[in-house]
């Protein structure tokens, strides 16, 4: 059991690492400029060929180069939005779990209210108001996805707050801030890391959905979701336009899920 779990996180970690490498080295890996026309296939996308392994799109751009560059946007959004999600979720979860009582009640009811709102719709509303840009996408994804993390962290913090070492530290006169930062947080950290890895795949998907709905990072920046959106019109005649970015999203989500579940399994094993 333990062995298999190790394989899982190893594979996931390698996949994530490969994504990071592709994103960082995009300018060297991509055979063409992703936003320039490199083949005169205007209005008539060309299928995969030796020169263009993933074909070219309706604006004559190389799909392979766009998928490679798309990794940058997806990873940036996925990871940065996850950082924002974590910050909000961990702060609320720790405060609720540690202080309990009224603080817990107010924060958790607020979380419940946020949970009742469909994330995608809420995100669409926020993005429409803020205008789509890299920063607004990050913030919006962070704002709508912290609830699950807050609940998990709260549950952990609640049990931590009753442990002997925390009670001991409190008896020695440690301030609440010190108790949280030095005693509770380090002990809920493993679960936070797992949640972060699993959550990243969620934010990746949310980013792709927003892009698909035309609310993602604005063009010409290549992003996987937007590539699929653009390809819907050509779906029947040029399925490769949607397939390759779709596979890329699949790969990235799988990578973070394997990593997250791998770590989780080893922890619980």
């Amino acid at each position: 059991m333990k062995r298999r779990a190790g394989t899982m996180e190893l594979v996931g970690g390698a996949m994530v690492a490969s994504l990071v490498v592709v994103a960082i080295l995009a300018p060297w890996l991509a055979p063409h400029n992703p936003i320039r026309a490199v083949a005169p296939t205007f209005g008539n996308p060309a299928p995969p060929s030796w020169a263009f392994p993933m074909g070219t799109d309706e604006l004559g751009r190389d799909v392979l180069s766009r998928v490679i560059y798309g990794a940058r946007i997806s990873l940036t959004v996925g990871v940065a939005a996850m950082a924002i999600t974590m910050t909000i979720g961990v702060a609320i979860g720790l405060a609720a779990g540690f202080f309990g009582g009224k603080v817990d009640f107010v924060l958790m009811r607020f979380t419940d209210v946020m949970l009742t709102l469909p994330g995608l719709l809420l995100a669409m509303a926020f993005v429409s108001v803020l205008r789509p840009s890299l920063l607004s996408i990050l913030l919006v994804i962070g704002i709508v996805s912290w609830t699950g993390i807050a609940r998990v962290v709260r549950a952990e913090a609640l049990s931590m707050a009753q442990r002997d070492f925390v009670l001991g530290a409190r008896a020695l006169g440690a301030s609440p801030a010190r108790l949280i930062v030095r005693h509770v947080l380090p002990n809920v950290m493993p679960i936070i890391i797992v949640m972060a890895a699993l959550g990243t795949s969620g934010t990746l998907l949310l980013d792709a959905s927003l892009s698909f709905l035309g609310l993602g990072v604005p063009p010409p920046t290549p992003s996987w979701g937007r590539m699929i959106e653009g390809a819907t019109m050509y779906f029947r005649v040029a399925p490769w336009l949607a397939t390759f970015p779709g596979l890329a999203i699949f790969y990235a989500v799988l990578a973070f899920n394997l990593l997250g579940y791998g770590v989780l399994r080893r922890r619980s094993a």
Partner: protein
């Protein structure tokens, strides 16, 4: 009328629903579910023409409609005094059997046919035309057609509420109507060919008030049978129509909410008889397949698509920057993206408009020259203008192509796709939108309908969305408007157009070419370059439903 992208427009909101609807459509097709005639009470064996549209019809009230879809149905339900031919842009008799104008183009007399009846059986008389024009002129109606009838003598007094009738509209007998104009207008008869001037029965409007649009009664070949908002619109034969044997089909059923892609699937399944918008992605396939290619009809529209530049906003107040954009944008590429469905624009006027100047050269694609002009105008490397456009997938692709082109000359274009209504509102505000994609389709075949409506100083805040003004152009337009000598008239307009092209308030992009595809059993369909297709002469040979 303003056109988004005629026949190619598609609502992006429909995008999500498309795949689900397509799945449902396929399921229906597979299960052999027939389309049924629920609640229509059409006799067995009735010949029914099936159409589909993405959007609901905005209105059927001829005083209100000013868009392609509304006019499609209004021109079937209502008659005007004169109308364009099925395939040409010449004036033909409709309710008026004959007409004459005074040599100075200030008095127009129309003699009406006596056998025309509304679909409720009442004869059409001259007063029905006066009633509708007065309804359009009445400010309470808020009709967009009001501009076209202001030139009638006494219109100003009527609009101000000082008179009961427009003094310049005289009805000497039941079947004659005379228009006296305050200033010469050689095009006046053309303005009467718009649905704004259709015969409308006063008693029906009185009965339904603002709900008239849902209960229209007219004298045209068809009458409204059913309009289920957002679902379908059904027209049936007007039994009183004055041409016997017309219309040739018993009913027209237009299904609403069918996106372009779904429309194509339904056409392939034989559920739609005529399809206006072939999806861009399918178009090359249609053209490569002889069986399908034979079923298409092609028509160059009398319209111009352009990229407007706000001449009052820096740096677009500098003519060198505006010219640079004209040189920088590859129009051939835009047409390639539309699979050849367009003709490169060299100026304002479309090629099939009378008065078009074939010698006008415009701006060739020349990025090097564009770069030089931008350098002269001292445009720095971090210039990030924003282009507003309609959020429809095809328009977005065109905008991305423009974005690519401008990147090559060092302009980093940001795109702002918005809905059609808000876009029109935004570009009308002064100093608000620096760049926008728009288009104009002719209402009547004269250069005035482009140059005067879109580029004169008096249309600031109206239709002159690039806030362009050149006193010399205004002078020429004022001189040309009342001119009855067509040769001289067109010379003046051509001179004005040359100045406009040199001043470059727009990037002149292209004139769209529209394609329609119909089933092999559809006969008698012809396209008009300036008006939606008409249904009354279409007939269907026997086919499996």
């Amino acid at each position: 009328m303003t056109c988004a992208r005629p026949k190619l427009a598609r609502q992006s909101a429909a995008l999500l629903a498309t795949s689900m609807l397509a799945a449902v459509a396929i399921a229906f097709a597979v299960s052999g579910c027939s389309r049924g005639r629920d609640g229509l009470d059409l006799p067995k064996g009735a010949s029914v023409l099936h159409l589909a549209d993405a959007d609901d019809v905005p209105t059927l009230d001829p005083a209100a409609g000013y868009d392609t879809l509304s006019w499609t149905f209004e021109q079937e339900i209502f008659d005007t005094l004169v109308r364009y031919g099925d395939a040409d842009i010449e004036l033909h008799p409709d309710i008026a059997l004959s007409w004459e104008s005074s040599p100075d183009a200030t008095v127009f007399t129309f003699h009406l046919r006596r056998d025309a009846r509304f679909s409720n059986g009442r004869p059409v008389v001259a007063d029905d035309f006066r009633y509708e024009i007065e309804r359009v002129l009445n400010p309470a109606t808020r009709s967009k057609g009001i501009e076209y009838f202001r030139s009638i003598a006494g219109a100003a007094d009527y609009i101000a509420g000082r008179t009961r009738h427009v003094g310049g509209i005289v009805i000497p007998d039941t079947y004659t109507i005379v228009f006296h104009l305050a200033a010469p207008d050689p095009l006046f008869a053309h303005k009467l060919a718009m649905p704004f001037a259709a015969a409308v029965p006063r008693e029906v409007v009185k009965r339904w008030g603002s709900d008239f649009s849902r209960h229209v009664v007219g004298s045209g070949p068809f009458m409204l049978k059913q309009w289920l908002g957002g679902e379908r619109i059904v027209l049936v034969k007007n039994p009183y129509y004055f041409i016997k044997g017309v219309p040739r089909v018993d009913a027209v059923v237009d299904q609403i909410g069918v996106s372009q892609e779904l429309g194509w699937l339904k056409f392939e399944a034989g559920q739609i008889d005529i399809l206006g918008g072939i999806p861009p992605a399918e178009f090359p396939y249609v053209m490569k397949t002889p069986r399908l290619r034979r079923l298409t009809l092609r028509q160059t529209t009398v319209s111009t698509m352009y990229l407007g530049m706000n001449c009052q906003m820096a740096p677009f107040d500098d003519v060198r920057v505006r010219r640079a954009l004209n040189y920088a944008i590859d129009k051939e590429k835009l047409i390639a993206i539309l699979n050849g469905r367009g003709v490169v624009a060299h100026g304002v006027l479309p090629p099939n408009l009378p008065g078009y100047d074939p010698n006008l050269r415009g701006y060739a694609y020349d990025p090097a020259r564009a770069r030089r002009l931008l350098e002269e105008a001292k445009i720095g490397p971090d210039f990030h203008p924003t282009l507003w456009l309609r959020a429809d997938p095809t328009t977005v692709i065109l905008a991305e192509s423009i974005q690519q082109d401008l990147e090559l000359v060092g302009i980093h274009l940001d795109l702002k796709p918005v809905a059609w209504g808000p876009l029109l509102e935004a570009i009308r505000q002064p100093r608000n939108v620096e760049l926008f994609l728009s288009g104009w389709e002719a209402d009547f075949p004269d250069p005035e309908n482009f140059l005067g409506v879109l580029l004169s100083r008096e249309q600031w805040g109206g239709n002159n969305d690039s806030f362009y003004s050149n006193p010399r152009v205004d002078e020429l337009l004022a001189e040309a408007a009342p001119m009855t000598d067509l040769k001289r008239r067109y010379e003046l307009y051509d001179e004005a157009e040359k100045i406009v092209v040199a001043d470059a308030p727009w990037v002149f992009l292209f004139h769209p070419v529209s394609y329609v595809i119909r089933q092999p059993w559809v006969h008698g369909l012809v396209l008009n370059p300036m008006r939606p297709m008409r249904f009354e002469r279409i007939w269907l040979s026997p086919h499996r439903e």
